[in-house]
Subunit: 178 residues, 2 copies
């Protein structure tokens, strides 16, 4: 049985990045002395799936930050070679979210971390997300790339837990009910 | 010195109502056995200001719910008569948010409750909001009337407190820093 899990930060007005992808507003509010639970979250995940937007953002970082295999869902990248430095760490696919989950299940992947706004939206639309850890950053940025998008129907959530940090982050964990 | 305060509920995806104004999704998740703090919030407010959208929504309720004077900011309603049943309870104005605050300050109004999505957005854009109590309802509705909107610049927030309820509501209070 395979399941998909979200761990993502958003401005209070619901953006994961500015219109141009900038996340400086997020990074500058990250207090490195606070443990926001990412290490605990990722500890039991076998695989990370992301869209091209997140992948290309991560490529601009100084170092590749993931110690889990990454699958990039992208029509555009599928069929192109993975950069030499990322061989064995990254794969590209043009499969759909549902197709990807079936494919990964066959590889005995059990728990998948879904990263990136548009991919989270796709997984939500297709009913593939089991739970979400949403960390709300105390800022309004006014515009940007939204965390959530249109849905074919309401998605009922169960609040599992909520906590706040001295830095002003509020982190809530939701289980999807429908 | 006059100040403006927000107390509002939103879906996790940032909507205060569906596209047609429906708030059934919100009302059906309201647990009347929980005290979400509205009585405490309103206790020290002298006046409620809202836009036409909120006013017309409230008119559809069985009874007028407010025991504070209400000022409706509306170009369209300004100059029209207030309904007989609401005389003394409601006024209409075509003043701007900044103008309204100056006008109310002269009347010795001290603390104003700003209600309704578009009016909250206007007050935020004009730098008129002192603090906000945001109650997040555990549901994604996919589309609707957004709580927040475009801004001329980032608004930094200080988290004052955050709490969650057995029903799954998460209520966070923010003070505006810029």
């Amino acid at each position: 049985m395979i399941s998909a899990h979200v761990f993502i930060a958003t401005s209070l007005d619901g953006y994961i990045a500015r219109p141009d992808g900038d996340i400086g507003w997020l990074l500058q509010r990250d207090d490195p002395t606070e443990d926001h639970g990412y290490a605990d979250f990722i500890a039991d995940k076998d695989m990370i799936v992301m869209g091209r937007g997140s992948y290309e953002k991560v490529l601009t970082f100084d170092a590749w930050p993931y110690d889990r295999p990454v699958l990039v869902l992208s029509q555009q990248l599928a069929g192109t070679p993975v950069p030499q430095a990322l061989k064995g760490k990254v794969r590209f696919t043009n499969n759909t979210p549902t197709g990807v989950m079936a494919e990964l299940a066959k590889e005995n992947v059990r728990r998948v971390y879904v990263d990136g706004g548009r991919l989270v939206q796709s997984f939500l639309r297709d009913g593939l997300v089991t739970d979400m850890v949403i960390t709300t950053v105390p800022v309004l940025i006014g515009s940007g790339r939204p965390l959530f998008g249109a849905l074919p129907r309401d998605i009922d959530l169960q609040l599992v837990s909520s906590r706040s940090f001295p830095s002003g982050l509020v982190q809530s964990t939701y289980r999807l009910l429908s």
